[in-house]
Structure formats: C-alpha cells, structure tokens
Symmetry: C2
Subunit: 323 residues, 2 copies
C-alpha cells in the first residue's frame, strides 16, 4: 500500500505532465490555469485510495483520477459564470480573467478532456466506469440546478437541502470512490459500500463547510459570514427557519439586505438566532453522525482492516480532524 | 440496405422515445425542447448511412447516432449564448427562453447525455468510438474558438478560414461518418476514406451556406444578407478582401456599420464588390471541387458501388442538388 503523500504526488505529477495544444490559446490556456490553481485533489485521491484498497497497483487508475479532477474543475469554471464569481482559490476566476465566452467554451473542452482521460482506463472496465461517470456527472448538474432553484424559492426544507448537497457535493465523491474501487477490482458489494461511504463523507464535509462559513476555523483562516451576507440558504439557515418563530424568521429572511445594518451587525443578528435555536449544535450532531457512519462503513468492507487506514486518515484530514 | 427515409424515421423514433427525468425541470426541459426543435438530423443520418455501407444491421448504431445529434444540439445551445442569439430554427433559443444559466447547465447536461448514449455502443468498439468522439468534440470547440478569435482579428486568410470551418463544421460530420463506419465493421482504410469524404462534404456544405446567405436560394427561403449586415468574416468576405484593392477593401470592412446606409444599401455595396472580383464564381468553384472530391472518394471504398448510392443521395440532398 502506498502512503497518502505518495498518492498525492503521483496525481500532481500526472496532472503536471498533461500537455495541451498551444492553439487556440483562449481555449486551452484557461484549462492549464484552472488545473494548476491548487485545490486539495480530494476527488482524485479518493479514486487512488479506493483502488489501492483492493490492488497494490494504482498506476492504471491515474487517468481516471485526473478525469475526476478535470471534471471538478470544469464544474467550477461554469459555476463561477452562473454565480458571477470573480475569485476562485484566491485568484481571479477564469470567468473574471477571460470573460464569459472563454469560460463557457474552455469549460466544455475540460469536460471533453475529462472523458478523454477516462477513456484511457482499461478497456474491459470501460463500460462500467463510463456509466458510473455519466450518472455522477448528471447528478452534479442536477445538484447545481436545485441549488440555483433554491435561490428563487421562499421555503426550502432540510430534506430538500440534504438531497441537493447529496447531488451537488456527494455524487462526485461517490463516483470517484466507485471508479477507484472498480479499477482496484472490487466486488459489486464493496463498490456499493464505498459509494455509501463517500456519500456520507460528502454530506459531513458540506455541512461542516456551512458551519465553518458562519462560525469559522482558525486553521482555515476563512472569512466568516460570507453565506450570511449573501442570504444563502445553507443548512444553518434552513434549520433555523424551520425552528424559529415568525419574528425571528423575519430577521433571518431580511437581515442580509437590511440597509440599516453593517455587515458585522447582519452577521451578529443572524448568528444570535442560530444560537438561540441551538442550530450550531444540531449541525455538529449531523456532521458527527454522517462522519461516524462513513467510517463505520469502512469496517464492513471485505478487506483487512489495516488496508482501510489510509482512507480513514484521508477522511479525517478532509474533516480537519487528523492529529 | 435501408432507404434514407427509413433511416431518418428510425432516428426520429429513437430520439422521440428518449425520456428525461421530470426534475429538476429547468435542467431537463430545455433538452427536450432543443431535440424536438427540428433540424435535418444530418449527423445521425451520416452515422447510420456509414454503418449501413458495411452492415445490414444498423440498430446497434442508433445510440451513437443519437449521441452525435445530442452533441450537435449541445453546441448550438452554448453557441447561442456566446453569439447572443435569440432565435434558433425559427423558435426562441434556449438562451432567450430560459436565460444564460439554464442554457449553460442544460448544455452541459446534454454533453453528458451524449456520452451516455455513446456508451451504449457495443463494448468491444467502445474505446475506438470514444476516442473518435473525444477528438471530434475537441475539434469542434477549437473551431468555435477560432471563429470567435476571427471577430477580433483584422485580417483572416483563406487558409485560416478553411482550417476553422474544417474544425467547426467538418469535424462533426467526419466523426459521425467514422463512428458509423466503425459500427458497421469497416476497415481502417475505409474509415480513413469516409473521414475524408465527410471533411470535403462539410467544407462544400459550409461554403455553400456562406454563398446562399448573400446570394440566396428560393428553395430555402432564407433571409439574404445576414452575414453582410453582421460584418461576418465569411469565405466570400475573406476572398474579396484578399483580391480587392484598398478602396474596395475599405467598403468591405466598414459598410455593415455605416450609419448613412440602409440595410439594402449595405448589402448592395458589398455584393457589388463581391461581383466585381468574381467572388461568387470562385465560391461556386470551391464548392464543386470539394463536393466532387467527396463523391469521388466514395468510388474508392471497398464496397460494391451500389451500396454507396444512399450516401450519394444524402450528399446530393444536403447540397440541394437532388433531383
């Protein structure tokens, strides 16, 4: 088995050696810009880790690992247009740097490049890998559409929200895990379990992201309160809306666009209601529940317990819980 | 062998029975709208015709045929955003009807659906079919990028223009032909020849499209002069620019944005120069050259001459030359 550091550097090397044509420059330059822009390589790591659970050899999984990373970056490119987002990973987004048309077309090319990488997977596994990837990719689009739908909706339930993030965030992790497992030669049953593992991990990860946006984390040094200032319907907001009485709901609905309040006051007003209705603790509970469930699934795989250790470490580090 | 009418109705039936989820509506409704919006089904016809050259059975080529039609419609969806085009096939474009974000995301979903259809092709052919499709899809993106680049460029050569339309228009026909041939069990050599056939046919088709836009065709009832009014760098414009003297070039460059001229005067001014420099005849020559070359390639295939008859008829009807 390989250490997580070695797997990560295998991914970085593989991505770095990918060459794109020089022309047309406006089509290909944004792809290199986007791929070299950092990111934690969470999805390709999942491909390799899940492959490595069942197979000592992971080399043959590198194209698929690169494919899911390429796909992820494609979604960011197009999401940034849809969200009018000027910054991505601390740098100008492709949309801001090159404009709408370049971001659309380079994004399209990235999606095609993702398929091209995927097609390099071993031929006998290709039909199943493709089907997994296609389904996953459509689910991510569905999640993005629901997310945009929610902006227009008055009321979003917790169930609807969990369904949306299962599509928008978990599906790509689940697809990555299953593709890795297939490449490792896993059984149907182990594939199903790893899908479930990744879905739960994705939910825990997204809920924690929501929580950290409002309550922060020194380690990440993330700006606090962005979601509140945008009036975003996060897990915290939706849970608070479902628990608060009407007068508090009114604050939750309108604070972010109240011209009489400073940003700090908006954040304080909303967080006061979150706190009053115990929302952070409920979120913590959900996060722990999902995360424990994910780790529990790893115990049930048909491999020796010690083989699951790197995947556990990866999950812990993803959640910021590694020692 | 099957008649072209039967092949076309097989495509229409196959596309009509494709079902999409009801939700999220804004993701899937535009796909159905786009696919049912007409269009001549040129690309899926090419898949089936090229398959039928080598195989009596074409049923197994229907998913790939639908995939290239899906891909073509995906490009239209995204092109319409990039071109701010409000009308497509006489109806509001998806962009105009649902807005930018829906057009981006539904387009993405269509590209994924195209791959999903393609993946239903016979497993033993899948790696080659995928590679052909991936290369073709990237070429189409490259062509679209060059086309947009040309809008910003002062001077575009005829060679550059031909290269652009070979990517933007011919590549998809060529990919369709090769995928069909592969599904029919064609040899490498026949695949190469059919690729060449489709490239030449695509060039003839695109040049004729340029010519008809300025010189019209009663049969198509197409508005005349749209390209001239947009100041588009078509084959006619580029050829005229390369042949005209400076004063005429000045008219070609600026007539479309001259506030002193009516639309009819703009068109007349540009066409007078086209005529003076023999541009329509040169275009006709290129069209005939390319078209004859395409038909000539069919004579060299390793199949009986009679088997190529439906493909000839298809090519003639595409060029508006059928009896």
């Amino acid at each position: 088995m390989q250490t997580n550091e070695r797997l990560l550097s295998a991914i970085e090397n593989y991505l770095a050696q990918a060459e794109f044509p020089a022309e047309p420059e406006l089509l290909y330059a944004p792809i290199g810009y986007s791929l070299s822009g950092g990111g934690k390589r969470i999805r390709p790591m999942l491909v390799l880790l899940c492959c490595n659970l069942f197979s000592e050899e992971v080399q043959h999984a590198l194209p698929a690992a690169a494919a899911v990373e390429m796909f992820h970056n494609f979604t960011l490119l197009h999401d940034d247009i849809m969200d009018n987002a000027a910054v991505r990973r601390g740098k100008p987004s492709v949309y801001a740097k090159w404009g709408r048309n370049v971001a659309i077309l380079s994004g399209d090319a990235m999606l095609i490049c993702a398929y091209r990488l995927l097609s390099e997977s071993p031929a006998q596994l290709l039909p199943r890998i493709l089907r997994t990837f296609d389904d996953m990719a459509l689910e991510v689009c569905e999640g993005q559409q629901y997310d945009m739908d929610f902006e227009q909706k008055q009321k979003v339930s917790v169930v609807e929200y969990m369904h949306m993030i299962e599509l928008k965030t978990s599906a790509l992790l689940a697809g990555s895990a299953v593709i890795g497992a297939l490449l490792g030669g896993a059984s149907e049953e182990d594939c199903r379990k790893l899908r479930r593992f990744a879905v739960e991990l994705g939910l825990a990860f997204q809920l924690q992201d929501d929580l950290l946006d409002s309550y922060g984390d020194q380690r990440l040094g993330k700006a606090i309160g962005g979601d509140i200032l945008e009036g975003k319907k996060t897990y915290l907001m939706i849970t608070a809306m479902s628990r608060a009485e009407e007068s508090a709901r009114d604050v939750l609905r309108n604070a972010y666009r109240d011209p009489m309040l400073t940003d700090a006051e908006k954040i304080a007003a909303v967080k006061a209601i979150y706190d009053r209705y115990d929302v952070p603790r409920l979120a913590e509970q959900q996060i722990s529940l999902r995360f424990e469930r994910a780790l529990g699934i790893l115990d049930t795989l048909s491999v020796e317990h010690s083989r699951t250790q790197p995947l556990r470490e990866f999950a812990l580090s993803l959640m910021g819980r590694s020692k």
